[in-house]
C-alpha cells in the first residue's frame, strides 16, 4: 500500500506541476464561465419587444401572462391548426399552446417558434404557469384543511403536494411549414455540456495514462521500477494518480467557474437580482390562508425583480439539480475513466511508441465517439430505447448517461448503469493488468491482436 501511494504521488505531482496543467486550469473556467455568462449577457441586452400569441384551451391562464418590458402577450381565440398556419404571417415571435387536459390541472404546454425560442421566454412562461398551478393546488389544499380541522397543518406536506413541474416543449416551425422539435432547454444544454466534458476528460486523461506507460517503456525505466513494485501496482498507481489530476482539474474548474460567474454577474448585472423561489411564494400564500394566523415562516417580502431576463436564466439553472449532476458526473467520470484508463494503459504496455497505438485505439475510441455522435438522439428522446441501451452499455454509458441525467432518469436505470460500469471496470482492469505486465517487458516487437489474446492467458 505504501508503494502504490508513492507511485500515485509521483504521477500526481509531476503532472500538476506542469505548465500545461496551469494553463488548462485557467482556460477551462474561462470557457465554461463564458457559456454561462454570455446567455445572461444576451438576456440583459435583448430589449427588443417580442410578442407571444397564446391559445389557452384550459382557460386557467387567461390574463395570467402579464406583459413585461420585452415580452408582450396576446390571446387568440382561434384553434391551434389555423393559428399555426397563419403563424408565419402574423409577425409573432412565438405561439404558446396550452392544450386542454382531462384532469383539471394542466402541466404542459407547447411553444411554437420560427427559430429557437429564447430561454428567458420559456422560463418566464414556465414560471407563470407553475405559480398559477401551484396557487390552484394550494388553494384546494387549504380549503380541504379548513373543512377538516382535525388534521394539523403540516407545511412540509403541503409543500410536497403542491410542488409542480411544468413541461414546456418547444417546436420549431420551419420555412417549409414542417415542425421540428427544438431544444433550447437548459437540460439539453447541460446534458450536452456534461456529455462533452466527460468525453473530453476520459479521452484526455486516458491518453495521458497511455502516454505515461509508453514514456516509461521508451525511457527504459520500467524494468528498474518493476524490480521494486508489482506491475499491477505501477499500473494502478499511474491510473489513479492521473485520475486524481483529472478530478483536481474538474473541481478547480467548478470552483473557478462559479467564482467567475458570480463576480461577472454581480458587476455587470448588479442590483436587484433577488431570487424568487417557489417555496417563498407558497409560504406567503399559505400564511394568507392560515386560519389561525400561525407564523409559518418568516417569509421575507419578495422584491420584484428589476431584471427579468437574468432571473429567467438563474431560475432555469435553479431547476437543475446541481448536486445530483455533479455527483453523477464525478461517479461516471471516475469509473468511466478507470475503465478506459485501464484499457489505455494496456495499449501503452503493448506498444513501443505512440505511432503504433493506432490499431488498438480504434476499438476503444469507437464507442466513445459513437456515444457523442448519438448525443442528438439521446436528447430527442431521452427515455427511448436507444438512449437506454447506450446509457447502460458500459463503454458508452458515461457519456450517454451524463447527457440523459438533466432530463431525469429513473433511479433503477442509473443504478443499473452504475453497476454495469463498475463490473466492467473490474473486468477491464483484470485484462489490462495481464496485457500490461507482459507488454512492458517487450521491446521492438509489433504486437498483434492474436498476441494480446495469448498474453491474456499466460
Amino acid at each position: 500500500m505504501h508503494k502504490i501511494f508513492l507511485i500515485i504521488k509521483r504521477e500526481y505531482l509531476t503532472r500538476v506541476r506542469k505548465k500545461s496543467f496551469l494553463v488548462m486550469t485557467i482556460l477551462g473556467p474561462l470557457m465554461m464561465a463564458a457559456i454561462v455568462v454570455v446567455p445572461i449577457f444576451l438576456a440583459t441586452r435583448g430589449n427588443e419587444l417580442k410578442t407571444v400569441a397564446v391559445i389557452d384551451q384550459t382557460g386557467v391562464f387567461f390574463e395570467k401572462f402579464k406583459d413585461t418590458d420585452n415580452i408582450k402577450f396576446h390571446y387568440l381565440a382561434s384553434d391551434i391548426a389555423s393559428a399555426k398556419s397563419s403563424f408565419r404571417k402574423s409577425g409573432d415571435y412565438a405561439l404558446l399552446f396550452i392544450p386542454k387536459t382531462e384532469v383539471s390541472i394542466p402541466t404542459n404546454a407547447i411553444l411554437y417558434g420560427e427559430s429557437n425560442v429564447s430561454i428567458n421566454i420559456i422560463s418566464y412562461i414556465r414560471n407563470v404557469m407553475t405559480k398559477q398551478v401551484e396557487d390552484m393546488k394550494l388553494e384546494a389544499k387549504l380549503r380541504d384543511l379548513q373543512t377538516d380541522k382535525k388534521n394539523p397543518l403540516n407545511v412540509e406536506d403541503i409543500l410536497r403536494s403542491v410542488k409542480t413541474t411544468i413541461d414546456v416543449n418547444t417546436i420549431k416551425i420551419t420555412d417549409e411549414g414542417k415542425e421540428e422539435k427544438s431544444y433550447t432547454e437548459i437540460s439539453m444544454v447541460l446534458g450536452m455540456f456534461a456529455g462533452i466534458l466527460i468525453y473530453f476528460f476520459i479521452f484526455m486523461f486516458g491518453s495521458q495514462v497511455m502516454r505515461g506507460v509508453i514514456e516509461e517503456k521508451t525511457n527504459r525505466i520500467i524494468e528498474v521500477i518493476i524490480s521494486s513494485v508489482k506491475p499491477f501496482e505501477l499500473m494502478m498507481g499511474k491510473i489513479v494518480g492521473v485520475g486524481m489530476v483529472g478530478l483536481t482539474q474538474f473541481l478547480l474548474w467548478v470552483i473557478l467557474t462559479f467564482g467567475i460567474v458570480t463576480v461577472v454577474t454581480s458587476t455587470f448585472v448588479g442590483k436587484g437580482t433577488s431570487k424568487h423561489t417557489a417555496e417563498q411564494t407558497i409560504l406567503q400564500n399559505a400564511a394568507k390562508y392560515n386560519p389561525d394566523n400561525l407564523p409559518l415562516a418568516s417569509a421575507a417580502p419578495v422584491k420584484k425583480s428589476q431584471n427579468e431576463g437574468v432571473n429567467a436564466v438563474f431560475e432555469a439553472l435553479d431547476s437543475v439539480n446541481f448536486p445530483v449532476m455533479i455527483g453523477a458526473f464525478i461517479f461516471f467520470f471516475i469509473f468511466g475513466y478507470l475503465m478506459y484508463g485501464s484499457l489505455f494503459a494496456a495499449i501503452g504496455g503493448a506498444v513501443d511508441s505512440e505511432a503504433d497505438t493506432q490499431q488498438f485505439m480504434l476499438p476503444i475510441t469507437v464507442p466513445l465517439i459513437l456515444s457523442m455522435v448519438m448525443a442528438q438522439f439521446f436528447i430527442q428522446d431521452p427515455t427511448g430505447q436507444v438512449a437506454f441501451w447506450f446509457s447502460v452499455f458500459p463503454l458508452t454509458s458515461p457519456v450517454a448517461m451524463m447527457i440523459r441525467i438533466p432530463f431525469g432518469v429513473p433511479y433503477w436505470q442509473v443504478a443499473l448503469s452504475m453497476g454495469m460500469l463498475v463490473l466492467t471496470f473490474l473486468g477491464t482492469t483484470w485484462m489490462a493488468a495481464k496485457i500490461y505486465r507482459t507488454g512492458i517487458l517487450m521491446y521492438g516487437k509489433k504486437v498483434s491482436y492474436k498476441e494480446l489474446w495469448k498474453w491474456l492467458r499466460y
Partner: protein, 311 residues
Amino acid sequence: MDIFSAQNISKQFSLHKALDQVSIAIPEGSIFGLLGPNGAGKTTFIRIINQIIAPDEGKLFYNGRELQPNDIYNIGYLPEERGLYKKMTVGEQAMYLAQLKGLSKQEAQRRLIYWFEKFEMKSWWNKKVEELSKGMQQKVQFLITIIHEPKLLIFDEPFSGFDPINASMLKDEIIAQKDKGATVIFSTHNMASVEELCDHIALINNARVVLDGPVRDIKKTYKTNTFEVAFNSFNGRLESILPSAFKIIKEWNDHELRLANIQIPADTIPNNLISALLPVVTIHSFIELIPSMNDIFIRVVTEKKSEPVLL
C-alpha cells in the same frame, strides 16, 4: 553457504523455451558471472530472480529458505535496458526510486546525500535527467541500484555506455560492494571483465546451463597442456629433438627469437619438455597457455553437442 539458488527452473514463452531445468547456486560473497550468447535465457533468469516474472516450474531459495516477495528489498538490480524519467530532477527521482526500495524518506535522503557527495554529483541534484550526459545518467542509475544496501546485486551488462575512466570506477565500486559483504551477479558478454572480476560463472546456452563452477576450476578443466617456449634461433627441426608424443601446434619467428606452442601428453610433466629442449637451445621463456574465458566460451557454445560440464 549459497545466498541464492535456483532449482530446476523452467520457463516457456508460448513456443519458445527460455529456460529448461536451470539449476544455479550462487555462493555468498562471490562475484558470479552469468554468461551466455544472446537469447540464451540470461535476462529471463535475472527477471525470475527479481520476481518480475514467475517461473513455470522449479524453486528459488534466498539464504536457504524459499524466496519471498519481500526479498526484493535485499536485491539491487541494474537492468541492461535501463533509463530514468527524463523530465524529473535527479534528486527527486533518486528519492522516489530509493523509497520504492523500502527506504524511509529521511533514510533515503541521508544516504543519497552521502553518495552524491562521494561521487561528486551534488550539483546534479536539481538538474533534470535530460540535462545529464549518458555517463552521468549511468552513474545515477548505479547509485540507485545500491542505495538500499542490498545483499544481492545484479548487474546486467553494467559497463555498456561507460567510458574507460567511469568503467574502472564502476569496477572498483563493484569490488568495494563485494568487500562490504554483498554478492554480485554479473551478466555480460565482455569476457575480459569476467576474467578480471568473477569467482564463479555459469554459462547458459539454449536455455540450459552448460558450464558452471569456480573460474579457476573451469580453466583447469579446459587447459590443454600447451606451452609457449621462446628460444634462440635454432637451425634444426624442432620435431627431431622432441619425443614423438609431443605435438608442435605452431612455430614462428619473432625478431631474434623463435617461438613455438607445444602440446605435451596429459601424463607427462612440463619438465620433460624442458629437458628435451635444454641440450639444444637456450630457453628465454616458458609459459603454460591457460585458455581465456573467451576461448572457453566460444568452445562451449560452438560445440555441437554441448554436454553439461559440471564441476
